[in-house]
Structure formats: structure tokens, C-alpha cells
């Protein structure tokens, strides 16, 4: 009896705690959205108004008066191109490390794996100077090059881990059946590693979509990304919080949709390598 009462109290404590946690987790997102559909006059009211007539004025401001759609398109083009490249090249390199023995393999593998830990701030000055010399600042080419380099090392490592979980016999028997090595790779290994591949692609898209510092330095008016545009709302005087909230909501929306629709893949991507089995 006593035990049961104790359990009931414990349950109440657990759910109360969870309620607090989820209010803390969700409130800032909700508040951003509410701010984005408020009139400028209501934005600053304290105590805040919770019930009000929603307006799309801030969205009109961000999308019609400012080319925010263009910035989002740039973010999308860059993230998708670079993710495509690093997935393909990481796939090939990962396969090589998982299936071959060759001279200086360990050295190369450590080198590639450690690139994930290189601080971006340390490579931006030479990149800026070099791209400036070549007239490549503010170009998709430069951004895709840097984004691919930033992510291909991790891609290689992840693919390597997927391939190790696929039995070697499978691609070898495909080769005995007359497939070329690349044929076996794309016909047998690729379909089996598809779930892992999707997790990698999604997390990589999120990472590049959210990048700010590289884009801030290397993009210009032709290639400006959404994150740079959002940081542009910060001014010394009178930040336009309504439009900033509208832009933030739109930038974060695709990420939220991803989490809700594809959470299985996101979780397994986050866990890749950290948890076995």
C-alpha cells in the first residue's frame, strides 16, 4: 500500500517535471511564431497579449519587400549540391576504406576523420584571400567547394561504418556472378546501405542549411544565404523584431518538418557510431 502510494507520488513528480521541460523546450519556438504574426504595435507590449488578430504583414515584409525567398533558395542550392557531392565521394572513399587493404590506409583514414574537428574560423582567412585573388568570392562554386570539404570527411567515416556492417561476402559473391566492382557497389551494397545513407543526407542538409560563419565571409549579394540574411536583422537601433521572427520561422520550418517526418533517420544518424547494435 505504502509502495503504491509512493509510486503514485513519483509519477506525479515525473509528469510535472516533464511538463516544465516541454514548456521550456517548446515555448521559445511558439513565441517566435506568435511574434511573427503580431502587429508591430503588439510586439513590444508587456504584459504580452496572447489573444490578438493575426497578421501576415511581417511575412509580406520579408518575402515581398526583401528577397528572402532568394536567400532561402541560395541556402537550398548550396546545401543540396554540397550534400550530393560529399555523399557520393564519401560513399566511394568509405567503400575503399572498408573493403581494401592498402599502403598508408590508417594514416589517410585518421587524416580524413580528424577533418571533422578542424575549427572553421581557422581556414576562413586563406579561403577568403584565395577566392578573392581568383575572383571567386560570392560564387556558388566557392561555397560548394568549401561546404563539400567541410562534410566529406564525416561522410567518409559514416559510410565506412555502414559498409562494415554489410557482410563482405555479399559484394564478393556479386562479383563472382559477373558484376564489376563498381557494379557490385551500386547494385548490392548501395541498396543495403540506403537507410544509413538517408540519415547522413538529412543531417548533412540540416548542418549546411544552418551554417552561418562560412556563408557570412564567402557569400555576397549573389549568393547570400538565409542565415546571413537573418543575422542582417541585427542593427544597433530598432531591430525589426516582427520581420526577424517571420524570417526565423520560415528558416526553421523545414528543419522542424524534417524532425517530425523523418525522426527515425535523424535519430539513427545522430547515433551512428556512438552506439553499437
Amino acid at each position: 500500500m505504502n509502495v503504491r502510494r509512493f509510486q503514485r507520488i513519483e509519477n506525479i513528480v515525473v509528469y510535472l517535471f516533464l511538463a516544465v521541460v516541454y514548456i521550456v523546450v517548446l515555448f521559445p519556438i511558439l513565441w517566435t511564431f506568435l511574434t511573427s504574426i503580431k502587429n508591430p504595435t503588439e510586439t513590444f507590449l508587456i504584459p504580452p497579449v496572447w489573444i490578438f488578430k493575426p497578421t501576415l504583414e511581417n511575412y509580406v515584409d520579408a518575402f515581398a519587400k526583401k528577397p528572402f525567398f532568394f536567400y532561402m533558395m541560395n541556402s537550398g542550392i548550396l546545401a543540396i549540391s554540397a550534400t550530393g557531392l560529399s555523399t557520393l565521394f564519401g560513399f566511394l572513399a568509405g567503400y575503399s576504406f572498408a573493403r581494401f587493404r592498402f599502403f598508408s590506409k590508417d594514416f589517410l583514414f585518421f587524416g580524413i576523420l580528424s577533418t571533422r574537428m578542424v575549427p572553421v574560423i581557422a581556414i576562413l582567412i586563406p579561403l577568403y584571400v584565395q577566392f578573392w585573388n581568383w575572383g571567386l568570392l560570392d560564387s556558388y562554386f566557392a561555397m560548394i567547394l568549401v561546404y563539400t570539404a567541410r562534410t566529406v570527411g564525416y561522410a567518409t567515416w559514416q559510410m565506412h561504418a555502414f559498409f562494415q556492417s554489410i557482410p563482405r561476402d555479399l559484394d564478393e559473391s556479386a562479383m563472382i556472378d559477373g558484376c564489376s566492382r563498381l557494379g557490385a557497389l551500386f547494385r548490392v551494397v548501395l541498396p543495403l546501405s540506403l537507410p544509413g545513407l538517408i540519415s547522413f543526407v538529412i543531417l548533412n542538409l540540416v548542418y549546411l542549411w544552418n551554417d552561418f560563419i562560412v556563408a557570412m565571409i564567402l557569400t555576397g549579394s549573389h549568393t547570400k544565404t538565409a542565415t546571413v540574411a537573418i543575422a542582417g536583422f541585427i542593427t544597433y537601433l530598432n531591430i525589426q523584431w516582427g520581420s526577424a521572427a517571420a524570417a526565423s520561422t520560415i528558416v526553421m520550418l523545414p528543419m522542424m518538418v524534417l524532425v517530425i517526418c523523418l525522426q527515425k533517420y535523424i535519430v539513427s544518424g545522430l547515433l551512428a557510431g556512438a552506439v553499437k547494435g
Binding site: V14, Y22, F100, I112, P119, T148, F212
Partner: protein, 295 residues
């Protein structure tokens, strides 16, 4: 003819693994290894748009006597300590709670991931709004529960903590997911054995759960400490490094000296301190990871 064909085959077979790595390597060399080395080179120069002059180790000597640099190193270390410890403990707590049988457990476990994928710049900007001492919602909440208002990001005492709280808000889902998955793999027998020995709940946590999660905790500590030492986006959007130097992280300092002060040489030297710190973590990371790969 046949023999030449065979020799060619051997060469192709030998070079196959290298050919597969080559495209990835081209990108890494062009946009990662090369700039990393070039940046080390720049750090030996007085390098600005006006003049480029070799000065040897002068930039590094300057670092040692630059109080602003030491401030930044201190600020960054404190920040890293707060967020890494905070996220670790909160992650452990949340994971053990979400691991219970809960109503709507699946919904809760998926909602917790939301902050993790949100754009840090947008998150920072929105918290800047909520932190505002005059019209921010946080001070309103404080007034509702009868507490005096705070200056949050505008006060040298609380600016760094304000940034750290946002980082904790955003990243805690990561250890939570990590540990949640780890908890699921603990064999039930381990707990049953401990129960037979009459272990209390706390001692089960210390003697069964924690040792089981240790590899994951180590991995988390390495990755997150390294990330925390590079903190930039949130500092840039919430405080801009201020007020004064109160929240100026190393990356922010390197950014300001490089892109506002146009002292590329000195900025490179400062960022090489970050490289040195992260290199230590990279070595640890590779060790841990490759040990896992071979197991």
C-alpha cells in the same frame, strides 16, 4: 599481349582504393588542408590589406601579452565548462525519465529533438528578443513570479550565462537521444542481478547504468567540448561578444581582429590557438572512434 594486359590489371587493382578516395581527397586538400596550412603561414606575418610583412613569431608573442586574448580564453573555457556539464547532467536526467513507460512517450521522445535541428542564428536572434530587458518576455515571467528584472545579455555578470543557457536549450536533446539509445541496450539481467544484491536505485544507477554509458559519455564530452570551444553563432547573435568582453569567445575574438580590425596575421595566430585546443580533442576523438570501429 596477354602479359601486358595482366600487368595493367595489377596496376589498376593496386590503385583502385586510391582512385576511390581521390575525389574526396581533392576537396579536402583544396578547401581544408591547404587553407589550414596557409593560415599557419599567415600567422607568421603582419598581414593586412595595406602591408604584408614577415614577422616570425611576433603574433604569438603578442598573444601572450594581450589581456583581451586571455579574457577570451577564460570566457570560452567557462562557457565550455557550463554547457558541457549542464548538457551532460540534463541529458542523463532526461534520458532516464524518457526511458520509462510514459503516456505519449513516443511523441515526447520526438518533440525533444526539435531545438537540436533549429538554425542557431535564428535561435540566437529570437532569444536576444526574449532577453531584452525592456520588452523581453523573460523579464515579464520574472515579474509574474515576483522576482526583480535582470539585464540578461546586457549585463557583464549574466551575458555569458545567457548565451550558455541558449546553448544548453538547443543541444541537450543530443545527449538525451544518445543516452536514451544507450539505456535501451542495457541487458535487463544486469539490473536484476543488482536487485538480488539488494541495490538501491541510486547504486543501480552508479554501478550498472553509468559504467554502461561510459563510452557514450566520453564520446559526448570530446565532441561537445571541442564544439563549445568554437562557439560563434550564438555569441554573434545574442551579445556580439559584449558587453565589453563579457561574452567574447575565442572564435568571436579571432573574427573581430580579422574582419573588423583587418589584422589577418594576428587573427590567424589567435585561431591557431583554437586549432591547437581542438587538435587535442581530435586526437582523443579519433582514438575513441577507431577503438569502437575495431571492436
Amino acid at each position: 599481349m596477354l602479359r601486358r594486359g595482366r600487368a595493367l590489371r595489377v596496376i589498376i587493382d593496386k590503385s583502385y582504393p586510391y582512385l576511390l578516395i581521390a575525389p574526396a581527397m581533392v576537396f579536402l586538400i583544396a578547401a581544408l588542408f591547404y587553407p589550414l596550412i596557409a593560415s599557419l603561414n599567415v600567422s607568421f606575418y603582419s598581414y593586412s590589406p595595406m602591408k604584408i610583412e614577415f614577422i616570425g613569431l611576433e603574433n604569438y608573442r603578442r598573444i601572450f601579452s594581450d589581456p583581451t586574448f586571455w579574457d577570451s580564453l577564460w570566457v570560452t573555457s567557462i562557457f565550455a565548462a557550463i554547457v558541457v556539464v549542464g548538457e551532460l547532467l540534463l541529458g542523463l536526467l532526461l534520458a532516464s525519465i524518457l526511458n520509462r513507460e510514459l503516456r505519449a512517450g513516443n511523441l515526447l521522445r520526438s518533440l525533444i529533438m526539435l531545438p537540436l535541428v533549429l538554425t542557431p542564428v535564428a535561435v540566437g536572434l529570437m532569444f536576444r528578443f526574449m532577453y531584452n530587458p525592456d520588452y523581453g518576455i523573460f523579464n515579464y515571467f520574472l515579474s509574474v513570479v515576483g522576482l526583480p528584472p535582470l539585464l540578461w545579455a546586457a549585463d557583464t555578470q549574466t551575458a555569458l550565462l545567457s548565451v550558455a543557457l541558449v546553448d544548453i536549450w538547443q543541444i541537450t536533446p543530443y545527449p538525451t537521444i544518445l543516452f536514451l539509445a544507450g539505456l535501451k541496450t542495457i541487458p535487463r539481467e544486469q539490473y536484476e542481478a543488482a536487485e538480488i544484491d539488494g541495490a538501491s536505485r541510486f547504486s543501480k544507477f552508479v554501478h550498472v547504468t553509468l559504467p554502461w554509458l561510459t563510452p557514450m559519455i566520453v564520446l559526448f564530452l570530446i565532441i561537445r567540448t571541442s564544439d563549445a570551444f568554437q562557439i560563434f553563432d550564438l555569441v554573434f547573435t545574442i551579445t556580439g561578444g559584449g558587453p565589453g568582453n563579457a561574452s567574447r569567445s575565442l572564435s568571436m575574438y579571432a573574427f573581430i581582429t580579422g574582419w573588423s580590425g583587418l589584422e589577418f596575421g594576428y587573427a590567424s595566430a589567435v585561431s591557431y590557438v583554437i586549432v591547437a585546443i581542438c587538435m587535442g580533442f581530435a586526437v582523443a576523438y579519433v582514438r575513441v572512434f577507431t577503438r569502437k570501429v575495431e571492436v
